[in-house]
């Protein structure tokens, strides 16, 4: 590209101009554009590869970046700004009955295994229900139970306590209070609750002191 060249009549546009051209072509074309195609579209003597390198540099760190796709080039939204391409609508739904019951069992009986939850609810607990509670960050996996099979246990989280405005899970009203509040209309059988809970209660205390 030296000036002494005889081709100077057909001298290529200055590099800054070539950059503009690359910018415009890549902006307006519906598909990624190869260097070959750029060469075909830009004036004679242009060096699209070099111009591309400059454009790439210019758009580094910008909201759109020049990226290579196969052997073609295109502008793309910067990866970290993908969230702008979404319009979020937040919808609040009530937790399903199964989820509430499972959550209640975890809260009152923690740490509790899946088998225990099923036993208390009297129906099997779908994986989705527990997963949902974990996703909501209201339930997390606790220590494994030291029994055959070493099943995982579930406990409630700080997030759960925050959401429900509790200092700790022991603040949850007991059956007596529930009944006093009219939430338990029928004859209680308090023994059933406690029987196996002795050990677990200890655990529970540990747990909350850990937290």
């Amino acid at each position: 590209m030296a000036k002494s060249n005889n081709d100077s009549l057909f001298e290529a546009p200055p590099m800054a101009e070539q950059e503009r051209m690359v910018e415009a072509i890549l902006f307006a074309t519906a598909d990624p554009v190869s260097v070959l195609e750029l060469t075909g579209r830009m004036p004679h003597g242009c060096d699209p590869a070099e111009a591309l390198a400059y454009v790439r540099k210019r758009y580094e760190g910008r909201g759109v970046n020049l990226v290579k796709i196969g052997d073609a080039w295109a502008f793309r939204t910067a990866g970290d700004l993908g969230f702008l391409m979404q319009k979020e609508t937040i919808e609040t739904r009530k937790l399903s009955r199964a989820a509430i019951e499972t959550l209640a069992i975890v809260a009152y009986h923690q740490p509790v295994t899946r088998a225990e939850i099923e036993e208390i609810r009297g129906v099997s607990v779908s994986r989705g229900t527990v997963d949902q509670l974990i996703e909501l960050e209201w339930v997390r996996i606790g220590r494994r139970r030291m029994t055959p099979g070493r099943p995982v246990t579930f406990v409630v989280t700080q997030g759960f306590l925050d959401h429900f405005g509790l200092e700790n899970a022991r603040d949850l009203p007991g059956l007596k209070e529930l009944r006093a509040a009219g939430l338990l209309e029928n004859r209680p059988r308090p023994e059933t609750v406690v029987e196996t809970d002795e050990d677990e209660d200890d655990d529970q205390v540990d747990l909350f002191e850990d937290d």
């Binding site: 939204t77 979404q86 609040t92 937790l95």
Partner: protein, 264 residues
Amino acid sequence: MTDSIFQEDVQTVAERQAAEALIVDVGAFEGPLDLLLTLSRTQKVDLRQISILELAQQYLAFVEQAKKLRLELAADYLVMAAWLAFLKSRLLLPPDPTEEGPSGEELAAHLAFQLERLEAMRNAAAKLMARDQLGRDFFARGITEDVQRVRRVTYTATLLDLMQGYARIRTKDDFRPFVLDRDSVMTMEESLARMRHLIGFAGDWTDIASYLPEGWDVDPVKRRSATAATFAASLELAKEGKIDIRQGETFAPIQIRKREPRDG
């Protein structure tokens, strides 16, 4: 169509060409005002100084010519011709002070305004179309991204929901209305399963009491349940045609035997 018209007319070639120059284009005029504007250009003056009288004469001559060529002119061309003839007379005659309405000058001024305005709009349209245009001279983004609509669902529950949920489970427990003591109950299914197995060995009439399982004939509660189950199972088997069943008289022992496969 114009061809046939011209053939019928007896004209010199020169006359015909002169007429054609104007007439052939009639279809290209966008109405009388447009025609007037075109005619006015022959005056080669600023539209503000145009002679409306001269223009009216030009127009009337044009309409005359078109009539001679039996060219069909749209009604609005003729309406304009009539109006211009009226305007012409107003402009030529001295104003009559007793006459109502606008003067010839006022009418002429308005026509001049209309022509000027039309020309101005024409020029503006030309300037507009001469601008750089999207998709021709400048371009929009070629690769577009759709804005995704993401619906995020958050779940919520109140402490009351939680307590009610728990109460519901515990109440279900407490309220389990009636738990059968399965220890001293023999079901028909159990009995049936047992008899299906045993019946193969019993060739002759046997008291169903002998089918009671071991240990179920002592405790009266158990014996009652077992007897009932065995009896019900026997009826079921009889219905299936597996056994015969008989009772000599009321309260006599109920006997059963295996029914032989029919061989004749």
